[in-house]
């Protein structure tokens, strides 16, 4: 505590503030550009929304300065910038959903602020790992329950809350990372060193592997029943990445990927919805798919093609021809109007986010915090790669949302909480060293 007092009291978060000005520029120019090309009559929400959002971000900044928060200053502006792009795109693509998305960003900001102060001791999370595992499983099963579960667009991954519905697996992904981080910290040694080898293949001590495999099997089974490929891939990815992070054993990752491909082939044979997704990916232009399941993807590709190098300009394209564009295809919509340049800039934002998150992980003082930060950063990167890859027809399309940008409340709230946790971890490393990145 004495050491901390040596730091000047008035030390502000100037990097963060400067970057938030850049966010303000994006938000304001974006809304102005969309308004300028809109043919419908002027609505006051279009002016109110960016101002409310900017005030919200500024208040988060003031809040952090006020509690003398001394962690990372880059993540908040990136998350704010991406959320701003998301709001601009909702205004552009589905303006009747704009107020709803703004409400969600207010809730997300509240959740972020809460995460910054609760719990007081982040490492305490590790103590309750079995609680998180149980809670995660319950949340996963919830959509299958009769009264509260809901099926939307063929996937049973929603639960009814009041007038709306939320996707519980969005929260599960964070719980899963916390559980894996705590468990792997405890048993890392046995898993990575005390193992026998048969030829080049490491044979892990089975009893220690059972809990994480069980956790993963439950997740997979539930996903099969809930018919959501995206979440399945994401959970599998988290599982493999955490195992690799803890053990450094690339073998786990390779055998995992082989299992994923085999599982995919089995699922292709067994499940109609998987088969439809894969067929649509492989041959969307075929006569029988073109106006059916391939329609959405083809419309997305048309949007990309119209984008060219620098895009047609916000409001000038026709991305609204893509069905459900605001949640599934925001990347293609953005690429049509901002071009390849904009698309790469957007991807670069996620890459910087990943870089910052991993840097925090590298600097974290305990292995639990390292695994936690790396796992959470990995989620954002993987989610981005899976949905953008789907939009670009590099891999089959899944219903995963583009973090911060795509329309959707559950995703926005959990991703902001994820940012909060990452910043908490960075503050702990900062405190330990009495200084830090600024």
């Amino acid at each position: 505590m004495r050491a901390q007092a040596a730091v000047p009291l008035g030390r502000g978060r100037f990097t963060e503030l400067a970057l938030l000005i850049w966010v303000a520029t994006i938000a304001i120019t974006g809304f102005v550009a969309v308004l300028a090309t809109e043919t419908a009559s002027f609505r006051p929400t279009a002016v109110v929304v960016p101002l409310v959002f900017l005030a919200l971000m500024l208040s988060l900044h003031v809040f952090l300065v006020g509690i003398r928060f001394r962690g990372d200053q880059i993540l908040l502006p990136i998350a704010a910038g991406l959320t701003a792009i998301g709001l601009v795109l909702v205004q552009r693509l589905a303006s009747d959903l704009l107020l709803q998305q703004l409400s969600w960003s207010i809730i997300a900001a509240g959740a972020f602020a809460a995460t910054i102060v609760v719990p007081r001791d982040l490492t305490a999370l590790a103590r309750y790992k079995w609680t998180w595992a149980l809670l995660g499983v319950l949340l996963l099963i919830a959509p299958l329950l009769p009264v509260i579960g809901r099926e939307i667009n063929g996937a049973r991954i929603w639960i009814k809350v009041g007038p709306g519905s939320i996707e519980p697996w969005e929260a599960v992904k964070i719980l899963l990372v916390i559980f894996f981080a705590a468990y792997l910290e405890e048993y890392r040694e046995v898993l990575s060193h005390a193992q026998r080898r048969i030829g080049p293949f490491p044979v892990p001590p089975v009893p220690y592997l059972v809990p994480i495999v069980a956790m993963w099997v439950i997740a997979m089974l539930v996903m099969v029943f809930e018919k959501d490929m995206g979440a399945t891939v994401l959970f599998f990815g988290i599982f493999l990445a955490m195992l690799f992070l803890a053990t450094g054993e690339a073998f786990y990752a390779i055998i995992g990927l082989v299992l994923l491909v085999l599982g995919g082939i089995v699922a292709y044979q067994l499940f109609g919805h998987v088969q439809a997704r894969v067929d649509t990916w492989l041959r969307p232009f075929d006569e029988d798919l073109r106006f059916g399941t391939g329609y959405q993807l083809i419309q997305g590709l048309y949007a990309l093609a119209n984008g060219g190098l620098i895009g047609v300009g916000l409001g000038n394209g026709m991305p609204d021809r893509i069905p459900i564009v605001w949640s599934d295809f925001v990347f293609d919509a953005f690429a049509e109007e901002a071009g390849l340049a904009g698309a790469i800039a957007l991807l670069a934002l996620y890459l910087v986010f990943l870089y910052r998150g991993m840097l925090i992980a590298l600097r974290a003082p305990t292995m639990f915090l390292q695994l936690l930060a790396a796992g959470l950063s990995f989620i954002v990167a993987l989610q981005t790669l899976v949905i953008v890859g789907g939009n670009l027809r590099l891999i089959p399309l899944t219903g995963i949302t583009l973090p911060f940008v795509a329309y959707g409340g559950s995703s926005l709230v959990t991703n902001w909480m994820l940012v909060g946790i990452l910043m908490r971890v960075s503050q702990i490393s900062d405190r330990m060293r009495g200084g830090g990145p600024s």
Binding site: R188, A241, F244, L245, A246, T247, G248, A250, R290, I298, Q299, L301, Y302, L304, A305, N306, G307, G308, L309, I310, V312, G313, N316, M318, R321, A335, G339, L340, A343, I344, L347, Y350, L351, L354, Y355, M358, A361, L362, R363, P365, M367, Q370, L371, A374, F378, A381, L382, L385, V388, G389, L392, R393, L394
Partner: protein, 479 residues
């Protein structure tokens, strides 16, 4: 700080960064590399959007008469199609079902972004400043088109007429046709399109270029050309005795003569009286390899260069002629041959044009809104297929087939004009009436029009088709 897992974190970060790189390359592929092809895909709504909020360019005939126009309505601009007989050629521009026909092939030109005008494309794309739509001018002459449509009447089939010197298509009829106005009319479009896509008669098919039929006797010019260029003396008489088989190995297989002929035939007689047995013997003399070579040179089995979709047909199921009976049958136009009316028109255009095959095309010009020509569509010839001497000999014999003593194609005669042509009665599946063909050109000494006529399932075959060809040629020549 070094931790046991620092290296793992770095390795994972690097892997993800590489995945981001691959993703960026994917984005570059779709936005830049594959962009042109997708931008011009006939189903891309961006090509059609121009129809709704601003006029789409008109499609006009060679004299400027409108065939498709955009007309202002309460809710924007609507497409109006003037000539039902050109339905499959002109196609439709539907916001829901995409584009077809000329509307698809010249989609960019019709929204003022012709490929020959990169500045307009650039301005439309980056400045949102779209040039007013121009016009696409077709080679179609509505006067000849009407003559062809009237001649065919309600009978299923197709007529295509073209200028052998340029390859410009003058008339193109395919029956049954449909009303494209229904396909672009929002209240009616769903029912209309559903009915069309399940139509047992395939009204959407452009039979002139996409319909495939056995050619029958009209194919004999190919056998004749191959024989003439391989040293066969056309004046040498061959013995014809119906029924014919080359040797006993054919078993109970015979080539039949349409007129149950017995006698001596030279090539001129063979064309005039359409003698199958004469051409079967000629084919057997020159051999399958040479006949295959000439059929390929004339474009059988390959898709003709055309600005609309076209069928490629076939010489035989296997692509080659591997047995004597198939060689004999192919030589007089049966066997396993399949051709489109356009392919036959192009073969006769080659003969009319001194042995040089023209390239067929429906559109001849793209004009901008002020009427200036943006692009001339004049594809050069395909090349010399047969020698001018062979072409001349065949022309003489085809004139004989129309106006010689007992010529089978007498129905194609036009007073005061030398018509060269050939009828065909193409045998069909057992139990179905044969298809009637006529292909010919006029005037024989300086051909200005080639016409190919097919009437599906008509008992009298070529006799039915020949006068239809004459009617079209008369309209084209103003006689």
């Amino acid at each position: 700080m070094t931790s046991p897992i620092s290296a793992n974190i770095r390795a994972l970060t690097l892997t993800l960064a590489l995945a981001f790189l691959v993703t960026s390359i994917g984005a570059a592929y779709w936005t830049v590399l594959a962009s042109d092809q997708l931008a011009n895909d006939p189903f891309n709504p961006r090509l059609i959007a121009a129809t709704n909020d601003r006029p789409r360019g008109a499609i006009v005939d060679r004299n400027g008469a409108p065939i498709a126009t955009s007309e202002k309505t309460d809710s924007g601009f609507a497409r109006s199609y003037k000539d039902r007989t050109l339905a499959q050629v002109v196609g439709y521009a539907s916001a829901k079902f995409g584009l077809s026909g000329i509307e698809a092939a010249y989609a960019d030109s019709l929204i003022g972004q012709d490929p020959a005008d990169p500045v307009s494309i650039w301005k439309a794309r980056y400045l949102g400043d779209r040039a007013p739509a121009g016009q696409v001018v077709l080679g179609i002459d509505l006067k000849i088109q009407k003559a062809a449509a009237d001649a065919l009447g309600g009978r299923k089939g197709a007529i295509v007429a073209l200028d052998p010197r340029t390859g410009a298509i003058l008339a193109s009829v395919s029956v049954p046709a449909y009303d494209a106005n229904q396909v672009v009319d929002p209240p009616k479009q769903d029912a209309a399109f559903d009915q069309l896509s399940h139509d047992p008669n395939h009204a959407l098919l452009n039979r002139a270029a996409q319909g495939l039929y056995p050619p029958g006797s009209i194919f004999k010019v190919v056998t004749g050309a191959a024989a003439l260029e391989n040293g066969l003396d056309p004046t040498k008489k061959l013995r014809v005795d119906d029924p014919y088989q080359a040797d006993k190995s054919w078993g109970d297989y015979f080539v039949r003569s349409a007129s149950h002929a017995h006698g001596l035939f030279d090539m001129s007689d063979g064309f005039r009286l359409s003698e199958n047995i004469y051409f079967a013997q000629v084919g057997l003399q020159i051999g399958g390899a040479k006949l295959t070579d000439y059929a390929k040179r004339f474009g059988i089995g390959s898709t003709p260069n055309l600005d609309l979709p076209a069928a490629k047909g076939q010489l035989s199921d296997s692509g080659s002629i591997d047995r004597p009976t198939l060689l004999a049958d192919t030589s007089y136009g049966q066997g396993e041959l399949l051709v489109s009316p356009l392919q036959m028109a192009l073969i006769y255009a080659t003969i009319a044009n001194g042995g040089v095959m023209p390239t067929a095309h429906y559109a001849t010009e793209v004009r901008d809104a002020e009427g200036h020509v943006v692009r001339q569509i004049a594809p050069g010839p395909q090349g010399q297929v047969i020698s001018p001497a062979t072409a001349k000999t065949l022309t003489t014999m085809l004139v004989g087939a129309v106006s010689g003593q007992g010529g089978f194609a007498f129905g194609a005669k036009i007073p005061g004009v030398n018509v060269a042509g050939k009828t065909g009665t193409a045998e069909n599946r057992p139990g179905e009436a044969p298809h009637g063909w006529f292909v010919g050109f006029a005037p024989a000494e300086n051909p200005a029009v080639v016409v190919a006529v097919i009437v599906e399932n008509t008992p009298d075959g070529g006799v039915t088709a020949a006068p239809l060809g004459a009617a079209v040629m008369r309209a084209a020549l103003g006689k």
